[in-house]
């Protein structure tokens, strides 16, 4: 049981039925066959159940540093903040800066600083969510957005209990990210190509990035837009509206 809210946390579900066999030299071989991700996955499942009970849609944003995650959030809040109550958990190695940018928009936000760790994990989100609920407005949100630590590698391995994992690549980064960092794309449900207002200045073929990503993960949904100019942004906003509608109707 979690101290903060009494929600179920399933962290003690491991199995004690190992097979034993004796070898020479008095050593014992024990068969374990347990995933090292098991503890995180159990916590992630418990987070997801908790989010469902509260009817909150949860997104996990993954990208390299500087691809526009925080800017995407700022523009999203400007456009639909009055119809959908948004809350944000920011992950960074150091500083409160991103959470301050979001709070300046009048939206509850907390900052998790990992102090050097390259990713967020499910237990950090569990604690972070309780902290967020204590913020003004944090107790009545429809959509929780988790902005992961800027890194296309490590965050892809850790389930946080999100409903949808979103991977972002901005135009200046180049279209070959899916081929170079496959796990971020195979584990996501949505791929956002951002900063498309810069397409005239960079050698970036949207069709190529799309094709590379879909060859790794045929079920991936792909959108491209510029949050700054608003071009193509409506598709993203409609997507969020639909997710919130679905979660409320569950």
């Amino acid at each position: 049981m979690c101290d903060a809210c009494g929600c179920q946390t399933h962290t003690h579900d491991h199995d004690h039925g190992h097979g034993h066999s004796q070898t020479h030299d008095d050593s014992v071989i024990v068969e374990i066959n347990r995933s090292l991700f098991a503890a995180n996955d159990a916590m992630a499942r418990s987070n997801r159940e908790h989010f469902d009970e509260e009817r909150i849609v949860v997104l996990n944003l993954i990208s390299s540093p500087g691809s526009g995650k925080t800017t995407l959030l700022e523009h999203t809040i400007d456009r639909i903040g009055s119809e959908i109550k948004i809350g944000v958990i920011e992950g960074d190695i150091e500083t409160e800066r991103d959470a301050e940018r979001i709070r300046a928009k009048g939206v509850p936000a907390i900052q998790l600083t990992t102090g050097g760790a390259c990713h967020l994990d499910a237990s950090m989100i569990h604690r972070g969510f309780h902290q967020l609920q204590k913020e003004p407005g944090g107790n009545s949100i429809d959509l929780l957005v988790i902005e992961n630590v800027g890194n296309l590698v490590c965050p892809a391995t850790f389930d946080l209990g999100e409903h949808t994992r979103v991977v972002l690549v901005s135009v200046p980064e180049g279209p070959d990210k899916p081929a170079k960092y496959p796990k971020a794309f195979t584990s996501s449900q949505l791929f956002l190509i951002t900063k498309t207002d810069l397409l005239p200045y960079f050698d970036f073929e949207v069709a190529e990035a799309r094709k590379e990503a879909l060859s790794l993960n045929p079920s991936l949904q792909v959108m491209d837009f510029s949050a700054t100019t608003g071009e193509g942004f409506e598709v993203w906003l409609d997507y969020l509206r639909e997710l919130v509608r679905e979660e409320k109707g569950k």
């Binding site: 071989i29 068969e31 490590c154 879909l214």
Partner: protein
């Protein structure tokens, strides 16, 4: 470098196992690292080497790593292609390019040998 924190999780499990089995020395640890687990084998080995140095229980433990094959299922003809190497570009049976990976995602503590 999330491998370091994964090795810390492994050491925690090993300590629990050791106290469960009443042993003070672990001789060998066998891990299965899926090629699609997002875990870099060399970084995992390095993390194991560094973190076991500080702990008597595992100081002399040998780390064995097993890398399983990944099965790629063709979304057109359902043919299953198994490989331990790079992701195939197309289906060997029908040539379709939409292949879906099955398994290969996990990181498993398979076996522990202890005194």
């Amino acid at each position: 470098m999330h491998e370091m924190s994964l090795v810390q999780g492994l050491l925690q499990q090993l300590r629990e196992l050791a106290s469960e089995h009443n042993t003070s020395r672990i001789l060998k640890v066998t891990m299965v690292i899926g090629p699609l687990s997002g875990v870099v084998v060399d970084s995992f080995k390095f993390g194991f080497e560094v973190l076991t140095r500080q702990d008597e229980l595992v100081q002399d433990a040998e780390l064995e790593i097993v890398i399983p094959e990944v099965g790629y299922r063709c979304s057109a003809c359902q043919n299953l292609q198994k490989t331990a190497g790079e992701r195939p570009h197309q289906c060997a049976a029908c040539g379709d390019t939409l292949l879906i990976a099955e398994e290969g995602n996990d990181l498993i503590l398979q076996q522990v040998e202890m005194e």
